[in-house]
């Protein structure tokens, strides 16, 4: 295997990684919020996914 990659046992995460994980958590929250809002609107007969009116 290429020497580019160190094994997981040898490497700890670099400082940027925690920001990356925070960003992906925000993306998940956005997905949950938008999906919940859209489905609530749809099942109430009030509209749909943002933009689909």
């Amino acid at each position: 295997m290429s020497t580019q990659f160190r094994t997981a046992e040898e490497a700890s995460y670099e400082p940027w990684y925690k920001y990356g994980v925070a960003f992906l958590a925000v993306e998940m929250l956005i997905a949950v919020a938008v999906s919940a809002y859209s489905l609530f609107m749809t099942f109430q007969g009030l509209g749909g996914f943002p933009g689909k009116h």
């Binding site: 290429s2 997981a8 940027w16 990356g20 998940m28 999906s35 489905l39 749809t42 007969g45 009030l46």
Partner: protein, 435 residues
């Protein structure tokens, strides 16, 4: 030039996001285009399907080019060509010419594999899942953002939209060339370039694990874009009365509801993808290898197990979607659909957390094959869904006759405890000596 891996990730992600935006911008304005040119339903369907035509072969070529010439140059060429043609399409008054131009702009979608290669050349094994997930998941949102924002910003003026999308694409291309760097070291860049010949490409394409990952991506991303095209019609027809009972009236009202369910699936599949990559990293760090048959001692074995779990969950959710549809419950169908969207993200994120580790010296060639051929599934799956006598049963048909064999093949290809990337057909004729 002083740079760092995070800057390279941001450049790749922005580039891919814009390419995805351009790729699906035609669909965002298809009602306006249809009204302007008085398109028939058949013509509209042809326009919609044309977005995928160039992907299978285009991604194979783009993946090879990123190894051969480096990701910055390859990405810049894609952005420049698609940007210029998008600008040209803003001034076109003939539908045939517009159609041809939009097919060319849709080539922007092949940039996915270029960014995968770029990211693979900069990040370490223990963070590759999260990194590739952030790149691909955030970039994928470009399609949803396009559908959401483009009509709101430009109304029905698709000419202005195509013009501005093209101009900004040119600016991003310039930024990519100015600040993009192909790999963390010259040795990595040169290794990828030196391994970009046809013999080496055929070697990658004929590896069992590469074929297995391609089928895994067909089950996930291929399924996602197939569902994007299929679900609005499915919910409109399969739950017509249930949607009317919610209070929606007329064709437009039913389409709003049906379109919402399709959009939620795609939205979840995109925005949970970074999490799926992160989960691959977690499995790796914890050393989890719960599944039978799949290798347990390889350095990246836990990632193989995470992907195996994802593929099983996708298959089960497809069965669940059929059962929910047959039950007649719209609510249950939507719940199964959201779950399917999330499991699809597990599959997409899990696949490309593995590709750079299995083929570290030829990441573009591998990504091009796996990410390219799999998009053909987007054409095949809807045909199977539509062929069933009962429209709810298509998901079960695909799960039983396609996904189960795919998953079994994945387990078989991933069983090797040593160098799965070396096992395939044409071994002796294509043997490549490691440096």
């Amino acid at each position: 030039m002083h740079t760092n891996k995070v800057e390279q990730l941001i450049i790749a992600t922005v580039g891919f996001f814009w390419c995805f935006l351009m790729w699906f911008s035609t669909a965002a304005f298809s009602p306006s285009i249809a009204a302007h040119y008085h398109l028939s339903i058949a013509a509209l369907g042809l326009l919609a399907s044309s977005a995928i035509w160039m992907a299978p072969v285009g991604r194979i070529v783009a993946g090879w080019a990123s190894d051969r010439y480096g990701a910055p140059r390859t990405f810049a060429v894609i952005l420049t060509v698609c940007g210029l043609v998008s600008i040209a399409s803003a001034f076109t008054q003939d539908y045939t010419l517009l159609f041809a131009e939009r097919v060319i702009v849709a080539i922007a979608g092949v940039s996915f594999v270029v960014g995968i290669q770029h990211v693979a050349q900069w990040f370490d094994a223990n963070e590759i899942g999260t990194t590739e997930g952030l790149y691909a998941g955030t970039g994928n949102v470009g399609a949803g953002m396009g559908a959401l924002l483009l009509p709101r910003i430009f109304g029905t003026d698709y000419h202005a939209a195509f013009l501005w999308l093209g101009i900004i694409a040119l600016a991003i291309a310039a930024w990519y060339l100015a600040r993009g760097q192909a790999a963390r070291t010259v040795k990595q860049r040169d290794t990828a370039r030196d391994r970009s010949d046809l013999r080496s490409a055929v070697f990658v394409w004929s590896r069992y694990i590469a074929v297995a990952l391609m089928l895994a991506y067909a089950m996930s991303f291929g399924l996602e874009i197939a569902l994007n095209a299929w679900l609005p019609g499915y919910f409109s027809r399969g739950f017509h009365n249930a949607i009317l009972a919610l209070g929606f009236t007329g064709v437009a009202g039913v389409q709003i509801a049906a379109g919402t369910f399709a959009a939620v699936q795609s939205f979840c599949a995109s925005l949970f993808r970074p999490f799926a990559g992160f989960m691959s990293d977690i499995f790796q760090r914890k050393g989890w290898t719960p599944l039978p048959f799949i290798a347990k001692s390889l350095p990246y074995a836990p990632r193989l197990h995470w992907l195996g779990i994802a593929l099983i969950l996708i298959s089960l959710a497809m069965v669940g979607l059929t059962l929910a549809g047959l039950s007649g419950s719209l609510h249950l169908s939507v719940v199964m659909l959201v779950a399917l969207g999330i499991f699809i993200s597990f599959g997409t994120g899990g696949t490309f957390a593995l590709v750079p580790l299995l083929f570290p010296d030829r990441p573009g060639t591998a990504a091009g094959f796996i990410g390219g051929v799999s998009t053909a599934a987007a054409i095949v799956f809807p045909l199977i869904f539509a062929a069933s006598t009962n429209m709810h049963v298509g998901y079960l048909t695909v799960a039983v006759y396609m996904f189960v064999p795919f998953v079994l093949f994945y387990f078989w290809a991933a069983r090797y405890e040593r160098h799965p990337e070396d096992h395939g057909i044409f071994n002796r004729a294509l043997a490549v000596e490691e440096a």
